[in-house]
Symmetry: none
Subunit: 402 residues, 2 copies
C-alpha cells in the first residue's frame, strides 16, 4: 500500500485512537495446549471481541519473521521494508541513548584478537556487563578523537555495546569491520561512498587507538563495528496522519521507535495501574495513544507458557478496563509479531488483531484468540494496512476520488 | 511481495519440504453436487487437514485465470507476471524438447492460404497428428538453413507444432507472423530491435522456403509463427532459497517448468506407487520435492466429475500415505489453479491449499475441501506467498531486521 496516498486523505480531528500492543502476543498451540492467549482467562478482551472485529495481520509479509523495528513501524503505518532501521539506531534505542541528527551509531561487539591481530573470539568470551562497562570507560578515558568529532561508547550487555560518533557531515555509508568469522583480522573501515571518507578516517583513527588501549586486556582486547546508521527521523505521525501521538512504554527500544515517528514519549510506567494512570493523565492532550507491554514477548522468548498467559490476564484485568473507561473512538489490541513460547523466538505467524469502535463492521467472533482471528472479519492483511483502517474508523480519513 | 527481499533471508538447511500438486484441483459445486474434492473419500488428506492449516491462494491475482506456466512459477515462489514465460518455451516443454540458451523457440500453427497467399484457415482444418508429422518431416527434408543456423520442427498436436532456430546471438525480439485473422497474408517476420535482424533474416528465408515446399499441400500449405522466446533459465531455487529441489512429474510440461527454475528432474513415473518409490529413493539427496499429478486437470478439462473425484481418491490412498511415511518437515498439498469440471477449462477460482508441519499455526478445519479452505487459517493470499510460508515453517528463513 502506497502510504503517500493515505496521507493525502488524513484530517486532524478530536477523535481518539488507542493502540494497545502486547509485544510478541501471537503464539501457536504446542504440548497439547492452546496458545497462551487462548488459555488465558480474558473476560474483558472477549467482551471487546464480541463488540468489535478480529483479524490476522502480517507484520512484514506472509512467512517473514520480523524484528521489533520493522514490526512496530508497520503498526504505526510505515512501510517496514522501505523504512528499515539500521542496527546501530536500534542499539541506541535499546539503551535510551539520545541520538541526534549529527550522529552515526554502530553496534559494537567486543572481541578477542591474538598476537597477529587475528580474531579468535567474535564475542570476547561473552564478558559480563560489568567488565563491558569497565572496558568502555577505559576506552573513553584514553582515546583522543579527531577535531570536531565526539565519541560515545555505552554498554548494552555482555560483549555488546553502542558506539556513536557525532560531528558535522558524517555519513553512515561505511563498511562493517566485523568479518563474521574468526582467524582473520578485523576489516578496515571503508567509505562506501566518497562523502563517507570523513567518518571513515575518524573511525580508523579511533579503532587504532582502541587496539592500543585494550592491548593488555585478556578477553575484550578489540572491537568490531557493524550496522552503522545515521539518525533521521521519519516523517512524523502528526504530519502524515494528523495525529497527536504519545507513547506509554516501559522499555527503551519502543520509546525510541515511537520517537522515530515523532510521538511524544512519556516516562516509563512502573506497573500496569501506573500505565493506566499515565494514560488518563494525558488523555486530553493527545489523539493517539501507543501503549506497549513488553513482557508477553520476554516470556515467549523464555519459553514460559504460564508467565506469558498470566501477563495477558493481567493486561485484561488492569489495562483493558482502564482504556475502556476512557471510551476511545477506536481501540486496537494486538501484538507487533508472534513470539511462540515453544519456539522461544520471534516468528512469521500473523499477529492477532482486535478492533473495537462505533464504526467497525463487526463479525461473529466472541473471543480474542489466534484461532478466532483466523475467521475474523478483518481477514488476513499486511500490518501496515491496520493504521488506515483505524484512522477511518476514527473518522480521520476522507474519501478518495469523487 | 518483493522476492529479492525473501532471498536475502534464506538459509540452506537439512529440513525437507514436499509440494504435492494435483493439477487443476480446485473446482466449483455444480449439478447439485459438491466439488470433486468435497465428494471424494479422502481420509488421509482430512487427517492432514485436522493436523495442519488450510487456505485459498490466487495463482496470479484475484479473478485472473492462469495458464500452467504462471501458476507453477507462483507455486515455486516466482512472481508469475514478472517471470511470464513465452509460448514458444512452453511448447518446447510440452513435447520435452531439450532447449539450449542458443535457441529461439516459436509456436507454429499450420494454416491454409489461397492462391493469392491470403489465409483462409488459421488452423489448416485441424489436421491430424499424423498429417502434422508428415508435413514437419517434409519441411525438414527440404529447407536449407542459413549458415550457422540449425532448424528444428516438432509436432505438438493437430495443427500445432514447435519451431526452434539455434545459433549464436539469435534474439527473440521478433514480431509474430500470425495476423490473428483470415483474408490477409501472413505477416513478414519483423525485427523489433536492431539486434534481432539476424534471427529475422534467417526466419524470413526459412519461411520463404516453407511456402514453396508446402505449396502442393491441400490443408497445411503454410505456417504461422508466434510467441518467440529465447530460453533463459530463471535464478534457481538453489540460489534463491537454498533448496536442493527435485521434480517427480509425469508430464513433460511440468518437468520443463521445473527445469526452468533449476530443479533436478527425475524420470517420469509410471503410476502413483512408482511416484512414491521415486520419492523414497531420492529422499536423502534433496530438500525440496515437487510431486505433480496431471490427471485431476485433464479430467476437469474433459468435464468428467467422477474421474476427477477418483483420481483425488487414488492420490489420497497412495501418494499421501507414501509422503507422510517420510515425515517431511513441511507438506503442502494443493493445485496450481482450478479446473472446474463443469467449465471444462482453467478458471480464476483460488486454489485450495493444505499445509502440515510442526510449526504451522493450526486452524479448526478438519476436511480438505474448497469450502473448508474458505475459512482456513492461512486466509486468502497470493500463491507466490506460499513458498515463504513453507520455507519459514521448515526453518529456512531468518529474521528480517532487528
Amino acid at each position: 500500500m502506497n502510504s503517500d496516498f493515505v496521507e493525502k486523505l488524513a484530517v486532524e480531528t478530536e477523535s481518539r485512537i488507542v493502540l494497545l500492543v502486547m509485544d510478541g502476543l501471537g503464539d501457536i498451540p504446542a504440548d497439547g495446549k492452546g496458545t497462551p492467549l487462548e488459555e488465558a482467562l480474558t473476560p474483558n478482551l472477549d467482551k471487546l471481541a464480541s463488540e468489535g472485529v478480529l483479524g490476522q495481520f502480517d507484520p512484514v509479509a506472509p512467512g517473514i519473521t520480523p524484528g521489533s523495528g520493522p514490526a512496530h513501524l508497520a503498526l504505526f503505518g510505515y512501510d517496514p521494508v522501505a523504512n528499515n532501521v539500521g542496527r546501530g539506531i536500534l542499539s541506541a534505542f535499546g539503551i535510551d541513548f539520545d541520538l541526534t541528527e549529527r550522529d552515526v551509531a554502530a553496534r559494537v561487539n567486543f572481541c578477542t584478537i591474538d598476537s597477529n591481530g587475528s580474531i579468535t573470539d567474535r564475542r570476547a568470551g561473552r564478558i559480563s556487563d560489568d567488565e563491558n562497562k569497565r572496558v568502555c570507560a577505559k576506552v573513553l578515558a584514553s582515546v583522543k578523537t579527531p577535531a570536531g568529532v565526539e565519541l560515545f561508547l555505552s554498554t548494552e550487555s555482555q560483549h555488546r555495546a553502542l558506539l556513536v560518533v557525532r560531528g558535522e557531515g558524517l555519513s553512515d555509508k561505511l563498511g562493517d569491520t566485523d568479518p563474521q568469522m574468526t582467524g582473520v583480522p578485523p576489516l578496515e573501515v571503508k567509505a562506501l561512498v566518497p562523502e563517507a571518507e570523513g567518518a571513515a578516517t575518524a573511525l580508523r583513527d579511533i579503532l587504532k587507538q582502541v587496539k592500543r588501549v585494550l592491548a593488555d586486556e585478556k578477553k575484550a582486547n578489540m572491537m568490531l563495528l557493524r550496522g552503522y546508521s545515521g539518525f533521521k527521523r521519519l516523517p512524523s505521525m502528526k504530519n502524515r496522519f494528523g495525529l497527536n501521538a504519545c507513547a506509554i512504554a516501559e522499555y527503551p527500544m519502543y520509546r525510541g521507535l515511537a520517537k522515530l515517528v515523532g510521538m511524544h514519549v512519556l516516562p516509563p510506567y512502573r506497573d500496569f495501574q501506573d500505565a493506566v494512570a499515565v494514560l488518563k493523565a494525558n488523555w486530553s492532550a493527545h489523539t493517539f495513544f501507543f501503549v506497549h507491554v513488553k513482557k508477553t514477548d520476554s516470556y515467549g522468548e523464555d519459553g514460559n507458557f504460564e508467565a506469558k498467559k498470566h501477563i495477558i490476564e493481567d493486561v485484561d484485568k488492569t489495562i483493558v478496563p482502564g482504556i475502556v473507561s476512557l471510551n476511545p473512538d477506536v481501540l486496537v489490541v494486538t501484538g507487533d509479531h508472534s513470539t511462540p513460547w515453544s519456539m522461544k523466538a520471534h516468528s512469521w505467524h500473523p499477529t492477532p488483531v482486535l478492533m473495537r469502535g462505533k464504526l467497525v463492521r463487526r463479525d461473529r467472533c466472541t473471543r480474542f484468540s489466534e484461532t478466532e482471528c483466523q475467521t475474523g472479519g478483518l481477514g488476513r492483511l499486511p500490518l501496515v494496512d491496520l493504521m488506515p483502517i483505524a484512522l477511518s474508523c476514527a473518522g480521520k480519513l476522507v474519501k478518495f476520488g469523487a
